[in-house]
């Protein structure tokens, strides 16, 4: 090299050393902070998201231990309490839908089943369908999205067209039609289990293109990054690039979209049960409770309010948490 560029070296070398020295001062104290840890620290500071997260956790616990909790309360979701029903109108006796020390959220009209117990059992259905269908969607969406984005060509065209088609498909009508022609028993399952199983599969199946599109787009942009070229220039094959270079960077968007997908799926389940194609009575579900409450909206408004509030709180909690996760992971804010 000739003089012109060597002169700056003399001046800049010490500054480079200084830079290194400065950095070294805190080096021993500070372990590198990964993007994941930074996101977690950010999430911890987001009070609203934390509140949402706590409610979600609570719901999961309640759903898991629904039989235990109702047992402690001495209630059963399917037990009739006709003695608590006004024989003339069919509505619960007492104020606010029959709220009492035994029945904390009152009882149902006509047969007098304990509403709290049914809400707790309904939470199981909602969360089960919400989580599992989101899982189906995430698995399908991730695998197909990566295939489309990473390999491109005709595979990408084919998968993209399928996604377009599914997104345009009237899924609600399809499910209603499907359920009406479905046998009562299949794969060794019967009654409500069949319905739950079918709902998980169908909601998951119609949900994957949402994740698939995001994953495909991310993969397309990530695979052009120079660090992928760098890995290739070191002799890395496709498998290494996919699992070591791309997937770690896809986790964040996948997590974000999964947390946002769960509440949507819970709403879809409620809608299906409301329309009578969800779980079968007597199995409790929030949508179904709402649907039967319609007949009593004047005489027993509490019957409608309770499952409505349950759905509202659940969806809100998931959304708050999901938004928090998204903000925490947002790559634009990371630095």
């Amino acid at each position: 090299m000739t003089a012109p560029l060597h002169e700056p070296t003399a001046e800049t070398a010490p500054s480079a050393a200084e830079e290194a020295a400065l950095a070294s001062a805190d080096a021993k104290a500070v372990q590198g902070r990964s993007l994941g840890r930074i996101a977690w620290e950010r999430l911890k500071r987001d009070k609203l998201a934390l509140a949402g997260g706590v409610v979600v956790l609570l719901l999961v616990v309640v759903a898991l231990f629904a039989p235990l909790i109702t047992g402690i309360l001495g209630q059963d979701p399917d037990e009739y309490h006709e003695n608590l029903i006004d024989p003339l109108f069919g509505t619960p006796t007492g104020s606010l839908g029959g709220i009492s020390g035994d029945h904390l959220l009152g009882v149902e009209p006509v047969n007098g089943r304990d509403i709290l117990a049914r809400i707790l059992y309904g939470a199981r259905i909602s969360l089960l369908v919400g989580f599992l269908s989101a899982m189906v969607a995430v698995i399908l969406g991730t695998v197909l999205g990566i295939l489309a984005g990473f390999f491109g060509g005709w595979l990408d065209s084919a998968i993209s067209r399928v996604m377009d088609g599914l997104l345009a498909f009237p899924q609600l009508l399809f499910i209603i039609a499907l359920v009406s022609v479905m046998p009562n028993e299949m794969l060794g399952l019967s009654g409500s289990s069949v319905r739950v199983f079918v709902m998980i599969l169908v909601i998951g199946f119609f949900g994957w293109p949402y994740i698939g599109r995001v994953v495909r787009g991310q993969t397309l942009s990530l695979r052009e990054r120079e660090y992928v070229e760098a890995a290739r220039s070191l002799g890395a094959g496709r498998v290494y690039i996919l699992f070591k270079e791309l997937l770690p960077n896809l986790v964040a968007p996948i997590v974000v979209y999964s947390t946002m997908m769960i509440p949507t799926n819970i709403l879809t389940e409620a809608a299906l049960s409301f329309l009578g194609v969800g779980v079968k009575p007597p199995t409790a579900s929030w949508g179904q409770m709402l649907s039967s409450a319609i007949d009593y909206y004047e005489s027993d408004p509490m019957y409608m309010v309770v499952p409505g509030v349950a759905i509202f709180i659940t969806v809100l909690a998931f959304n708050l948490f999901g938004d928090g996760v998204r903000d925490a992971l947002d790559p634009k804010a990371s630095r």
Binding site: L5, H6, G235
Partner: protein, 424 residues
């Protein structure tokens, strides 16, 4: 890196040590040879993805890289420099032509076939923000070469990573940190450490400093230079203008629209550039701005934009912007020929050298327009090697306001173009 080959052999101990480190290929021997290299990116359209054309990013180039030297590659944005770099590191598969590394044809080797060669050919990337995976620690990034190549460095991977970090001037304690915890210049040093981990012979650096702050550019360039001396590296350094390349290169290749238009020793190129495009690049960064016409300076402004590489101009690709273009330039493609020892040029009417097509003495209309953006001094110089320019200059001098009507070949024909030299 200039003069290095001369210094090296005689005086510089670091260099002779470097020669030992690079195992074979004595300085000056051909390390990489490229012949007729082409890369056409197909353009597909429609449902059936039918090919409707191609981007001719690299369109037939020949050059060689000698062991221990630094070859600079310059050209405007989009002229195919990065594509060329990715072809010689075989990140892309050439459409045609051959790439030979140490005499071995590597043109069509697959991922597996290339893997052992990856140790010898490495790349430094342009964007320090996108070249390091944000999810990996620096330790993971710099040790990736060892994992991918199955190499167990002496003293263990961690020790070697720390050694590499200190070699590039970073704190060895930082191997557990993440890329976002470093500045652009530091990241580029990390990229350099990764590229050097396997002690490569050839390093291709694609605009290694253009994303960095000007104050840091020199540091990084100097680091690369020092490492070249210590390790006996051979560099291909890509840049979009001559400012970075001019100090560090032994030889310089100038690219225009997928072609090499001039390839010369640094000294020759600076003393006497022969291709008009080289001359324009050297005069300044080309800015097409007709308003500067009144304030003509030594600067050469190029008319218009770079034409599309999808349908490059016929003949000489530079003829749409060249102030010396004549009829032959639109029809016959000038070949890259060695006009002077160590200086290869592809031009019919080179600067600073005898006209290669003296019979062609009529300037194209486009060339006259292009000439309006060129300083008088430069035009005068150009006239000495082009009868057409000379005639034009003479005519404009005679009737400054008159419309520069197209002359007939007979009128301007001159049997002795050399005699027109003084008709400024």
């Amino acid at each position: 890196m200039s003069e290095k080959s001369e210094d090296a052999a005689v005086t510089n101990p670091a260099q002779s040590e470097g020669a030992v480190l690079s195992k074979d290929a004595a300085p000056g021997e051909t390390l990489l040879k490229v012949t007729g290299l082409q890369k056409h990116f197909p353009i597909r359209k429609g449902l059936l993805q039918r090919q409707v054309g191609a981007v001719r990013a690299v369109d037939g180039i020949d050059f060689e890289v000698r062991s221990g030297e630094t070859l600079g590659v310059v050209g405007e944005s989009g002229c195919g420099k990065s594509t060329m770099g990715r072809l010689i590191t075989r990140l892309l598969e050439p459409t045609a032509g051959t790439v030979e590394f140490e005499g071995k044809d590597i043109t069509h080797l697959g991922v597996g076939g290339m893997r052992p060669l990856r140790r010898d050919v490495q790349m430094i990337f342009q964007d320090p923000y996108s070249s390091l995976n944000p999810r990996h620690t620096i330790g993971t990034i710099i040790s990736a070469p060892f994992r991918l190549q199955g190499v167990e460095p002496e003293g263990g991977v961690k020790r070697e990573v720390q050694r590499l970090l200190s070699v590039v001037g970073l704190n060895p304690e930082h191997y557990n940190r993440y890329p976002h915890e470093f500045s652009g210049g530091q990241r580029q040093r990390i990229g350099i450490a990764r590229a050097l981990a396997l002690k490569p012979k050839l390093v291709v650096a694609d605009e290694p400093v253009s994303a960095l702050d000007v104050s840091i550019q020199a540091q990084v360039v100097n680091l690369m230079d020092d490492l070249q001396q210590e390790l006996g590296l051979t560099y291909v350094i890509i840049a979009h203008d001559l400012s970075v390349v001019r100090h560090v290169s032994d030889r310089i290749a100038v690219m225009y629209l997928g072609k090499i238009v001039e390839l010369a020793d640094r000294e020759s190129l600076y003393k006497a550039p022969m291709h008009p495009y080289t001359k324009a690049l050297m005069s300044a960064v080309p800015i097409p701005d007709p308003r500067r016409r009144s304030a003509k300076s030594e600067r050469i402004l190029l008319k218009g934009d770079v034409p599309s590489p999808i349908s490059p101009p016929s003949g000489c690709r530079f003829h749409t912007r060249c102030w010396k273009a004549t009829q032959i330039c639109t029809t016959v493609e000038p070949q890259l020929v060695e006009l002077k020892p160590g200086q290869r040029v592809a031009c019919h009417h080179p600067e600073n050298f005898e006209d290669q097509a003296p019979q062609d003495t009529v300037l194209l209309t486009a060339a006259k327009e292009a000439a309006e953006l060129v300083a008088d001094e430069v035009l005068a110089e150009s006239a000495t090697t082009s009868a057409a320019v000379a005639a034009e200059v003479a005519e404009v001098a005679a009737s400054p306001t008159g419309p520069a009507a197209e002359e007939t070949p007979d009128a301007a024909a001159s049997d002795e173009p050399e005699t027109d030299r003084d008709s400024k």
